[in-house]
Point group: C2
Chain length 206, copies 2
């Protein structure tokens, strides 16, 4: 096991991951072969297996990690600063923007579909992403409760879960239909529900 990577080594490894990610975004997981990655990144077969001894699965898992990081990075810092209604609106726009730019592909979802069963770690990557994501949303809701902008009786965890689910579904629908209306609807209805809560009774108990 090569535990020691030189500076050059880590650079090559990273280049492979990013090249593979780009290839997958363009042509899909199914159509992407190791030779494609090799060609695009200007590497050789032995390098691929040198940095990813377990082969394609290991590489795809690394790509999944990379994409998962990007999902959160792309909505920061707004995601971490949900402290006023304008801030919520800014985050909402940021999310819509990100997926608008991404067009029809949802590489992470496709990756999970592709390697989810064979590579247990893949689901863990997605699970962790969702957990972090929801944690930040929930923190935002709690903050709004603290400053009196959201009904303090609301179950923040449940509301955060519902909002996160809406976003995920909105992206999924967008991939199928090419239209972003559902993502916008999920965000707008979700946030409107938070705002309106102050003026009505707590939502139904679980």
């Amino acid at each position: 096991m090569s535990r020691t990577l030189t500076r050059k080594g880590v650079a090559t490894r990273q280049r492979i991951i990013e090249g593979a990610a780009a290839e997958i975004r363009e042509r899909g997981v199914v159509a992407t072969t190791l030779d494609d990655v090799r060609g695009r990144t200007g590497t050789s077969k032995s390098q691929l297996f040198h940095y990813f001894p377990d082969g394609k699965d290991e590489l795809l898992l690394a790509v999944a990690r990379y994409e998962a990081d990007r999902v959160l990075d792309d909505q920061r810092p707004q995601l971490s600063e949900l402290t006023s209604w304008p801030a919520w609106a800014a985050w909402r726009d940021r999310v819509v923007d990100r997926y608008l730019r991404q067009e029809l592909d949802c590489p992470l979802n496709d990756l999970i579909s592709y390697i989810g069963r064979s590579t247990p770690g893949a689901l863990a990557v997605l699970t962790e992403l969702l957990h972090t994501w929801q944690g930040e949303i929930t923190a935002g809701i709690r903050h709004m409760q603290r400053i009196g902008e959201v009904d303090p009786g609301m179950d923040a965890e449940q509301a955060g879960a519902a909002l996160l689910a809406g976003i995920q579904g909105g992206v999924m629908v967008m991939r199928a239909t090419g239209r972003i209306a559902h993502l916008e609807a999920a965000l707008d209805v979700g946030i409107a529900g938070l705002r309106a809560s102050r003026r009505r009774e707590p939502s139904r108990p679980t």
Copy 2:
């Protein structure tokens, strides 16, 4: 082109589709080969290509259609009868139940991920499913508006889109985490939002 299928022919064709669907549910799209389908359904290679001349893609598309039909069938008749709050609750339970039973797989989503790019028709199948689904939900919301249980000023289309997105996302999260909490949250929060709407706006004629 064999346009004429005998009774036996359609039966075999259907057996192939259902066998393939079962195989895919159990082992995933990626791992399912034509030989697996052949083995499970007790057919021969020539039969597969006889009934699906375009090969695997055509078969998978047929399986996608089959699964899409099941999605809606499994939530009927409740989905078509959203005419009172108990009816909404019954539908909600039905959906939760369906996905609880299905456990971790979301064969349709995986199918689309797998053949979406190469087979344009696949996305169309999913799009149509979503369209029908949302149509029924929206019809339910409009009915509740008509009988004065939901704020008539609400945008039923948008609310339906948000609810549908929540369900999709809830299922997606469930596939990753194995837990159904998000699906329930999306349904409960979504429906609660509908109910609360009436009490939020200034009263209108019922």
